[in-house]
Amino acid sequence: MFDQYIVCEDGFRTRDDGHPGGVVEVRMPYYRGLGLSMVEAVDLVLDGTPVPPSRTTFTVHGTTYPFDQLPSVLDDRWEMGERAQLAFETDEPLAPGEHDVAVSVRLRISYMPVPGGGRDAKRLTLPAGAAA
């Protein structure tokens, strides 16, 4: 229902911790907030290559979680329309310029017999001079 808004057009940037990689801001394709234990996946494909979840982290309102921790997070939520930061590591620093960013969100929604969520893909520009 909000698939086209998953990948935010702005906010794409390099990591600020010195590691190669970047941060893409993402929103949940759903009309309410959801507890993080029900966020099953936020999968990233960068320039056609899947980034393993072990190389990504997920940040909501300032708190960062590795994806293998989310199933046990019962006291925090991804709010409706909230921009979460999906940070990822790459082998080499990202080149400035355009990148294809595809994100697929899988949610465990109790009243639905099949997984919820959605997917979105956009071509984002990494600002020149911002690369690590």
């Binding site: 909000f2 009309y31 507890g35 329309g81 929604i109 009243y111």
Partner: protein, 332 residues
């Protein structure tokens, strides 16, 4: 026009597009409702209150200040039941009842006397939570949401609990998506923009509009070489239903609130008349009057998701049109 005491309200769900994109704040949503004379506010706490289920005193103070400022009244909250909260196991019955108790407390704190119990709430959870709802003076109303209807076994199980316990706290909240007389064109037009085969779209729309058998539509799309878009549209056709609005009449004593679902309010530029394209409110509202319904018609706009790819979404204008229609149908 018979005498009636039906009132008008808005579920803030209606403004989800603008709230999601942060072009409207929660206060803006309340103001918009008040501005169109829709005095009753329905809120989905999990949608509109960051930090849910923890409500700060500051939030609650703001909430009541907005009600005062915009001439509105809290009427209903909508609860969800996250039976799949834990990976690998379902919530126990006790945990489900505790979840409803939590949401009853939130409704009370927000000053709402009605709680929408989502359709997946099991009858035994309604029964288990009823005493607490009675104690707190709120009503727990099961939404009757398409594709369910008043003869469906799931609803009959709920009715059995309601009639056996005679709990004054339990009842029904009809969603007007059970009275979709013709297929919403915003939905079929979206499928066409997404590349659906026009002949297959016509087949689906015609089957629906003829009130034909939609059960096998997904299979037929597959037989006719349809892909995900056509099959998805066929699935939608099985999730809208048309039933006679008079099917609500035998249940009127249980009905405490109406979710006035809509997909597209049309405007006749010459006469200024507004109407819903697929849901015949001019047939529905007289049934509610006849049945003595005295609660709120609460707008639930759900068209945004079908047009956002190609058109600007103006949820406030859509809700305004629905309320112009309600005002006419209610003889205001």
């Amino acid at each position: 026009m018979s005498a009636h005491s039906i009132q008008r309200g808005v579920s803030l769900y209606s403004f989800q597009e603008e709230y999601f994109l942060r072009t409207m704040t929660l206060e803006d949503c309340v103001r918009a409702a008040g501005d169109m004379g829709a005095r009753g506010i329905e809120i989905i706490p999990e949608q509109s209150i960051p930090g849910f289920p923890h409500l700060t005193d500051a939030f609650v103070d703001d909430w009541f200040a907005w009600m005062e400022k915009y001439g509105t009244t809290p009427v209903a909250t909508d609860l969800f039941l996250d039976t799949k909260r834990y990976p690998g196991r379902w919530l126990t019955l006790e945990e489900q009842i505790a979840s409803v108790h939590r949401d009853i407390d939130i409704a009370v704190r927000l000053g709402a006397g009605i709680i929408r119990a989502i359709i997946n709430t099991p009858p035994e959870v309604m029964e288990g939570a009823a005493p607490y709802a009675e104690e707190k003076g709120v009503r727990l109303l099961l939404e009757v949401h398409a594709p369910f209807h008043y003869e469906h076994p799931w609803i009959l199980e709920h009715l059995e609990v309601m009639h056996r316990t005679q709990s004054p706290a339990l009842g029904l909240m009809p969603d007007m998506g059970t009275f979709v007389e013709r297929f919403p064109r915003v939905v079929s037009e979206r499928a066409l923009r997404d590349g659906a085969d026009p002949e297959l779209v016509d087949y689906i729309v015609k089957t629906y509009d003829d009130h034909g058998d939609t059960h096998a539509l997904m299979d037929i799309m597959n037989y006719r070489h349809g892909g995900p878009v056509e099959v998805g549209l066929a699935r939608q056709a099985t999730h809208y239903i048309w039933t006679d609005p008079r099917s609500m009449l035998p249940h009127m004593p249980l009905i405490g609130h109406i979710q006035a679902k809509f997909y597209e309010m049309t405007l006749d530029e010459t006469t200024g008349a507004t109407a819903e394209y697929s849901i015949p409110y001019d047939a529905i509202v007289p049934v509610l009057v006849e049945g003595g319904f005295d609660g709120y018609l609460s707008s639930e706009y759900e068209g945004n998701r079908h047009i956002q790819d190609a058109f600007p979404v103006d949820s406030v204008e859509q809700v305004r049109r629905q309320h112009a229609m309600f005002a006419r149908l209610l003889g205001e």
